[in-house]
């Protein structure tokens, strides 16, 4: 049933390709502006087109993208096709109904009236305001203009900066600094105090909210939509104020983290392949933030986003080693495969003689030395390797003790590992 109805819609609304993690693939220069969960797409006037129920609506600078709840496919309405956006009606009758935003769309020669039913407890006025703002900007038309303008702006900046040369320049700078600091600091501290007073009230309210959230999460597992909606709200609110919100197995955390989590899963795939299937969390943090440029994410954002991966069906996972090192690992990249490669490396004649150091393993496996060391340690705890600690540092040898029969310690099976070791180590002399 769903397949049949969606094909009718597919003829009308263009589909949007999604990445493997369920994020829409954006056009060049397209920026995400607003996210709305639980939105229905209705065409009330024209009953031949079925409605799309309960999806995620993404307002970008170029389009309105509607993603199915299962994140399997998506449709988009280019903003250029929106003729008019009706503001949400304010009347007694509409006060208790689910908020609706109507758009007049002209697409592919057809003119339709599309209604977005906002079931997700979001403010329709805010959405409408943002929609109007984005439509007014007309970002999709401004692609070439933007480039020229940014060059001009850069030149202007260079010209305006005052040359600070010579002693007078330095003195002048000092003077300015002094004046500025003195004047504004007085006000600043006063304002800061006032601000903090208000913040304290918020924190008290937040504490109550947080306790409620925690108790309701642990107490009941059944959920009606009302409850879930307000819990999501609370999470988002706590996040925006700057108070740690509890992300448990039941809750999905703030919407921001959910989207970030999907974005990360996409971003991290190519570098992960290059690094051999495993990367430390610190590296990912640096890479991601450098790529972002502005609006960087905090380490906690990253951790939350990674923790959410187990709820979605993505190809990467977060893993913590005993030493506390956290890494991101490709799900396909299994430990057994690594162990087999390590053991084959440790059985080479060179390795039988001199052992394997973390840097050797790193070179062969193609991963960072710190991670190679973790792998060697894990292999040792599984009984595949033995360590040798000397002034040269750590070296690992293949575990021969398993080969030695306790009843007959001098027996040596040929061909066998013990035999190979004996022949390798006695050759050099």
């Amino acid at each position: 049933m769903a397949a049949a109805s969606s094909s009718a819609v597919a003829h009308w609304l263009p589909t949007v390709p999604l990445t493997a993690s369920g994020r829409p693939i954006f056009l060049p220069g397209e920026v995400e502006r607003y996210l709305l969960p639980s939105v229905d797409l209705d065409t009330e006037e024209n009953s031949s087109l079925p409605s799309l129920l309960s999806g995620l609506l993404v307002l970008t600078s170029h389009r309105l993208v509607w993603i199915y709840n299962t994140s399997s496919s998506a449709h988009a309405i280019p903003l250029a096709a929106v003729v008019h956006a009706y503001p949400p009606k304010k009347s007694i009758r509409h006060l208790f109904a689910t908020p609706r935003v109507r758009l007049q769309i002209s697409l592919g020669g057809r003119s339709e009236l599309v209604t977005f039913v906002l079931r997700g407890k979001t403010d329709p006025d805010v959405f409408h305001g943002k929609l109007v703002e984005v439509m007014r900007e007309r970002a999709w038309e401004r692609e070439e203009e933007k480039e020229d303008r940014s060059d001009a702006r850069r030149e202007a900046e260079v010209r305006v900066r005052m040359p600070v040369v010579g002693v007078s320049g330095i003195l002048r700078k000092e003077q300015e600094m002094w004046e500025n600091t003195d004047k504004s600091l007085q006000d600043a501290f006063q304002d800061l105090n006032a601000l903090m007073g208000k913040a304290k009230e918020m924190v008290q309210l937040a504490e109550k909210m947080r306790l409620k959230l925690l108790s309701s999460l642990t107490a009941q597992t059944n959920s009606n939509d009302e409850e879930m909606g307000s819990k999501q709200d609370m999470q988002d609110w706590l996040l925006s104020v700057g108070i740690a919100s509890p992300v448990t197995k039941e809750s999905a955390g703030a919407l921001y983290h959910q989207q970030l989590s999907r974005q990360l899963a996409d971003f991290v795939k190519p570098p992960l392949e290059k690094a051999g299937g495993m990367m430390s969390l610190v590296e990912v943090y640096c890479l991601f933030n450098r790529a972002r440029g502005t609006e960087l994410i905090s380490p906690e954002d990253l951790l939350q986003a990674c923790a959410l991966w187990e709820k979605f069906d993505v190809q990467v996972m977060l893993r913590e080693f005993d030493s506390g090192v956290k890494v991101i690992q490709n799900k396909a990249h299994s430990d057994d495969e690594v162990f087999s490669r390590i053991t084959s490396l440790a059985q080479k004649p060179d390795a039988l003689r001199k052992g394997v150091s973390p840097s050797d393993a790193a070179f062969t496996l193609g991963i960072a030395p710190a991670l190679a060391k973790e792998h060697l340690l894990t292999a040792e705890s599984k009984g595949l390797l033995c360590r040798d600690v000397s002034a040269d540092g750590f070296r690992f040898y293949i575990n021969l003790f398993k080969e030695i029969d306790p009843d007959n310690i001098y027996s040596c099976k040929t061909p066998g590992l013990f035999h190979a070791w004996i022949s390798a180590t006695t050759v050099s002399g």
């Binding site: 600091l185 600043a188 913040a199 918020m202 969390l281 905090s298 380490p299 090192v325 956290k326």
Partner: protein, 255 residues
């Protein structure tokens, strides 16, 4: 609400329970609205504050430190997430997260020389060199805050206090008390010998030798056997007065 006997009594009891539940939910709903309202007022206050003092926060490290202290007292964490009102309106998030990235870079670059322990002073010097573009000044307090944020990523980022100095650790090696005391001894001249350690700390020779060997293995110490008296010296680059900053050009740290 009188209690009535019989089936109708049960039904009315169920009905009243439902009504109470609805009222309870409404109270919760009102709370949500109250939350939103509070957030709006707070947000506008913060916007005013930001308009007047955003520059102060960026340019004045003392003010910044004061700001952080007050936030901590109140119980909010302005650096918790990029999505919070603090990051959005004050722009304070980007400053610290970028600082975090730069600190990680510097630690990685110097790891081969100092084994993962770098003094806070040296880190700040290298940071200032890296941020040469005369942007906003960075204080030691800022570094410490950025590092405390990095801690959640695992991989052993942390701060150790040795005497008056602070050392930044970027490897998961655990340093026990013995090691810390040796580092204190080494602070004076940048190196320590087994005898020095034994005399200053009154340890047995085995204990001193063990601890020094462990530090050597972890890569935090370097051996020097070239002195005329033949005694082996253990040098610690992280507490040595000769800083790595002097030779930073050769380390390939890009600005």
């Amino acid at each position: 609400m009188r209690r009535r006997p019989g089936i109708s009594g049960l039904q009315s009891a169920a009905a009243t329970r439902d009504q109470y539940r609805l009222v309870g939910e409404n109270v919760a709903k009102i709370r949500t609205d109250l939350m939103k309202e509070q957030l709006e007022t707070f947000r506008s206050q913060l916007e005013d504050f930001a308009r007047k003092h955003k520059n102060d926060i960026r340019k004045n490290p003392t003010f910044r430190a004061q700001f952080h202290e007050m936030c901590a007292k109140v119980g909010v964490d302005p650096l918790a997430s990029n999505k919070g009102v603090w990051a959005e309106l004050l722009g304070i998030g980007d400053f610290y997260y970028e600082l975090g990235v730069q600190i990680v870079d510097i630690c990685m670059a110097t790891r081969s020389t100092n084994g993962g322990l770098i003094s806070l002073q040296e880190l700040c010097t290298l940071l200032c060199q890296k941020r040469k573009a005369a942007r906003d000044p960075v204080s030691e307090d800022d570094c410490l805050r950025a590092i405390s944020k990095l801690k959640v990523l695992g991989s052993g980022f942390g701060v150790i206090s040795i005497g008056k100095r602070k050392l930044i650790r970027s490897v998961p090696t655990e340093l026990n008390r013995d090691h810390n005391e040796i580092l204190e001894v080494a602070q004076g001249q940048g190196y320590a010998t087994v005898e020095q350690v034994e005399k200053t700390l009154s340890w047995s020779s085995g204990r001193a030798a063990d601890a020094l060997e462990t530090l050597l293995k972890e890569g935090l110490a370097m051996i020097d056997d070239g002195h005329r008296d033949g005694k082996r010296r253990y040098w610690f680059p992280c507490v040595a007065p000769i800083s790595v900053a002097a030779g930073s050009d050769g380390l390939g740290i890009d600005s």
